[in-house]
Subunit: 166 residues, 2 copies
DNA sequence: TACTTTGTTCAGTATTGACAAAACATATTA
DNA sequence: TAATATGTTTTGTCAATACTGAACAAAGTA
């Protein structure tokens, strides 16, 4: 029976921190997510978070609120327990994808529109370029959700397979 | 005949700057891209860039090099002209997509793998979650290029339509 | 060879933003 | 009401980094 190494888990939390920093969230947000991804149990109190991540209460408090607003984690409370716990939401990856990928697609589609609006009716090398950009991102904006739906369907099958193999 | 407003174009460059900042590039990189998207002519000298963006030579020099490395712009030189020009590459949007969307997909797929590696064989609430995450991002990593190829095919058709309508 | 034009590199500055620490607020138990 | 536990908000500090400005390099012109 292999027990998970806490120090390795902390390293992992740091890595996730770096990764999420690249997506625009504060590093601490990624650290919390990273830890919640591998912590046992999957729900952790604020005290546990401050200890394992060696961060201040204030930082954890602010960042957990941010993550809750983004729909990535949720606060849970147990009866007869003073403090709350945080855990990943079951649909966190949907939100991650929506915030990152879908958000970027929409942003660039809007930029292309604005740029074309500036150029007006004139057809220049630039307008040709911008039209192509608008074209791609509009396409992605339509097709990307369809792609995710396709995954969900295939995923349903996977789950059934898992059930059968029990 | 509507002439493009320079001040509006500068505003646009600033907006693109903000947008690209969110994707991890320096703001100045986005400003340059934004200006090149609407400037007339589509190729601009370093002096023109320093003037319109009110930025220092050094900043433009450093940032154009960065953009060239990323494959987003290219340096062009005209015969009998001392200075060089910069312009968008025709395949810039492919690089934008690759850097942003594809990169993010790969990054998160790798994170899920690392997390699962940490948990080992144990099946917990977390491992179930991570497996799902790995599942989605692996799916996206495979299907996203296919999606782009599909666009390119449909795009070929568009171009032919344009030719016919001339 | 001097001079000008063009572009790069580097040192210093300024700005941004994440974080810690402490003050503050709220609620629970005694 | 006092005392304790829990969580939030705010203020200040520090670090990262984009940017400016100046020194420097290279290459073309007189």
């Amino acid at each position: 029976m292999k027990t998970i190494s806490v120090s390795k888990a902390k390293e992992f939390a740091e890595e996730v921190g770096i990764a999420f920093e690249q997506t625009g969230l504060p590093r601490m947000a990624g650290r919390i997510l990273g830890w919640l991804l591998v912590s046992d149990p999957p729900h952790q109190s604020m005290e546990q978070l401050t200890n394992t991540l060696t961060a201040s209460k204030g930082s954890i408090s602010t960042t957990t609120r941010l993550l809750i607003q983004h729909g990535l984690i949720e606060r849970i409370s147990l009866p007869a327990v003073r403090h709350d716990y945080f855990r990943l939401r079951s649909d966190t990856w949907q939100h991650m994808i929506g915030r990152g990928l879908t958000g970027e697609i929409i942003m660039f589609r809007q930029l292309a529109e604005r740029g074309l609006g500036l150029l007006g009716e004139k057809t220049t090398a630039n307008s040709k370029w911008l039209k192509e950009m608008l074209n791609v991102y509009t396409f992605l904006e339509q097709e990307f959700p369809a792609l995710l739906e396709r995954w969900e369907k295939e995923h349903q099958k996977d789950l059934q397979t898992v059930k059968q193999s029990r």
